[in-house]
Symmetry: C2
Subunit: 362 residues, 2 copies
Amino acid sequence: MSNAYAVILAGGSGERFWPLSTKARPKQFISLFGGRPLLSLAVERLEGLVPPERVFIITAEHLLHDTAEAAWNIPRANIIGEPCKRDTAPAIAVACGLVHGRDPEGVVCILTADQLMSDVETFRLTLADAVTVAHHEKAIVTIGIPPTCPATGFGYIEAGAALNTTRTVTPFNRAERFVEKPDAYTAARYVESGRYFWNAGMFIWRTDTMLDTLRAHAPDLAALSESVAEAAHDPEALDAVLRGTYPTLRAISIDYAVMEHAQNIIMAHGAFGWDDVGSWPALHGHFTADAEGNVIVGACETREAQNNIVVSEDRLTALIGVRGLVVVHSENATLICPLDRAEEVKKLIRRIAARPDGEKYV
Amino acid sequence: MSNAYAVILAGGSGERFWPLSTKARPKQFISLFGGRPLLSLAVERLEGLVPPERVFIITAEHLLHDTAEAAWNIPRANIIGEPCKRDTAPAIAVACGLVHGRDPEGVVCILTADQLMSDVETFRLTLADAVTVAHHEKAIVTIGIPPTCPATGFGYIEAGAALNTTRTVTPFNRAERFVEKPDAYTAARYVESGRYFWNAGMFIWRTDTMLDTLRAHAPDLAALSESVAEAAHDPEALDAVLRGTYPTLRAISIDYAVMEHAQNIIMAHGAFGWDDVGSWPALHGHFTADAEGNVIVGACETREAQNNIVVSEDRLTALIGVRGLVVVHSENATLICPLDRAEEVKKLIRRIAARPDGEKYV
C-alpha cells in the first residue's frame, strides 16, 4: 500500500470502563486484552501494512504523553493533540490535511483506537482492499460490520448494489445510507433484512476526494483541512492552526457532517470479528469463564459465587455467595454493580466527579 | 487501686475481620473505631486506674513490634510474647506469675484487647469495685455482661445469690456455674431467665488466690506461674522459661482449666455497653447508617444500594443496585459477601492461604 496513510482517532472519554478507564486514561489505554493497551493493538495491526512514519494519531492534548508511550514506534511528530473536544469530524479534517500536506494523492485510512478485532489478518486484507478501491474509484470507502445481534448502540449502514471489482478479495457494496442508532425493534428488522451493517467508524479515501467532499458539505472543516495541509511540515504553525481554529468549531460527528449527505460511498464487508467491547459485560466474550461462570482477570477466590466479572489485577478479591456482579478495581477505586446495570456507572461518575476529592477518581 | 495490676491478653487470630485483620495484624490492631486500634483503646481505658508500669500485655511473639506501637506508653519489658499459641489458660498463668513476682498480694485484672465498651466510666468503676471485692473476699471475680440478645457465640455465667457488699457500687452475685456456648433455644431460655450473663473473658483476683486455684485444678500451669514469678525481674530468664515450657503445654482455655471447677467465684455486673464486635455485621451497632441503611467507613458513593456495610479507607467504592453486602478493602485484598454469610470468610481464608501467594493476603 505504497500510497496509504493511517490516522488513528484516539480521543475517548473513559466512562464506560470506569474505574479502569478515566478521563486521564480512557478506554484505549486499558490493558485487559493480552496485557496490551487497545491503542497499542490498533498500532500493531498496521505493521507491514502502513509504515510507522505514515501513521498519525489524533488524541486529546492531555493524553499526548500516554499516547506516545502506548504508540512507542510512531514518530512523536505524528501524534497530534486536539486543544479541545469537537467530536469526530474536525479530527478527521485535521487527519486529512496532515496527509494531504505530504501527499496530495495519498489515501488516508481513518481508524479507531479502542476496539478489538479477533481476525487481524482479515482486517489487514480488508483495509488493503479498501485502499485499492478508494484509490481507483475516488470514493469514500467505509467498513460495514456484519451485525451479530440487533445492537442499539451503533449506527447502521444500509448496503446497496454489490460493486464489481476484480482487484479485491473483500466484497464491496454501494452504501445507500447511514442511519443513526435505532430502537430495538428497528435494529431487529435491520439485522433480519441482511442489508444493514454496523457503522464501525472507519473510513478510507483519497485526501483529494475528502477535501472535495468537505468543501461540498462542511466548508469550515475544509478550510481547517487546508490550513493543516499548509502547516503539515511545521509543528509550530500546525499548533497555531489548531489553537486558533478549534475553539471556534462546532462539535459534530463525521456521520452528521459528511456521511449522511455525501454521494459515492462504498462499503467494504468487515468480517474480521470486530468488537467494540462497549462495557464491562462484554468481557464475557473475550475471556474463558470458570466452572461457575465467573470471568476473572487477576486474583480472585470464590465460594458459591456465580456468573460474576472480576477485574482484580493489583489485589485479591474474595467473593462469597454473590451472583451476576461486575467487580472492578482500579488503583484507587472499586466498582460493584449487577451486570445488567453496568450502564448506570455513567450516572454515578457524575456524582463522584462532584465530590471534593472527585478528580482523584474519574 | 494501689495494689491493682492489669494484664491484657492480646493474641488473636484475625480471621473474622479479614481482610482488614490478618495473622500479622489481628483484630486488636484494626482502627475502625475512632481511628484507634482496639488495643490502644484497651490500654487507654486503664488510664488513671492502673499506672502503665503495672500494665502487662501478653501477645504472640510475631506481634511484639505492633503491640508495642499500639500500646506505646506501656514499658516494653511489660509486653510478653508467647512462643506459641496455647489458648488463654497458659497466658493467664504467665500473667499471674509476672504480677506475683512483683507483688505477692497484688490483684491482677485479666482483660481483653479486642472489644469495645461504650460506657468507659462505668467500666472503670466496675473494675475498681471488682478489685476491691477480689482483694477482700479472696475470690475469683469475673465480669458478667447482661445479655442484650440470645447470642450463641459466647459462654454464659449463671448468677447465684447476690453478694452483700457495702464497699462497692457495682452489683455482685455468686457465680453458680460457667456454661459453654449454648444452642439458640438454650440461649433464648438463658436470656429470658434473667439469671445468665455473657462471659466476657475478664477475671480479677489476687495472685495468691489464683496460684492456689491453679495448684488445685491445673498443677502444670501453677508450676509455670511459679517459674515465671521467679524470673519476673530477669527478661532472659523469663524468655528461657517461656521457651522451655510453652511447647510442652496443652492448649486449654481458662474456662475449661479453672472456671468450670473452681469454687468461690463472684460475678460483677458489667453494664458498660460491652461489645465483642465479633464480625462485620456487628459494625451496624457502631456507626450511623445513611438514609438507605448503608454503613460506610471511608469513601463510597452509592446508587440504589441499600443496607450494605462498606469499609473503604484507602479507595473509593462505587455501589450500584446491591443490597445487604459486606464490602471491605484492605491494602491488598477485598471481601464481598452477603451480611448473613460473613461467617464463611473463615472457610475462604483457608483456600486463600493455600494459594502460592497466599501469605500476602492472610
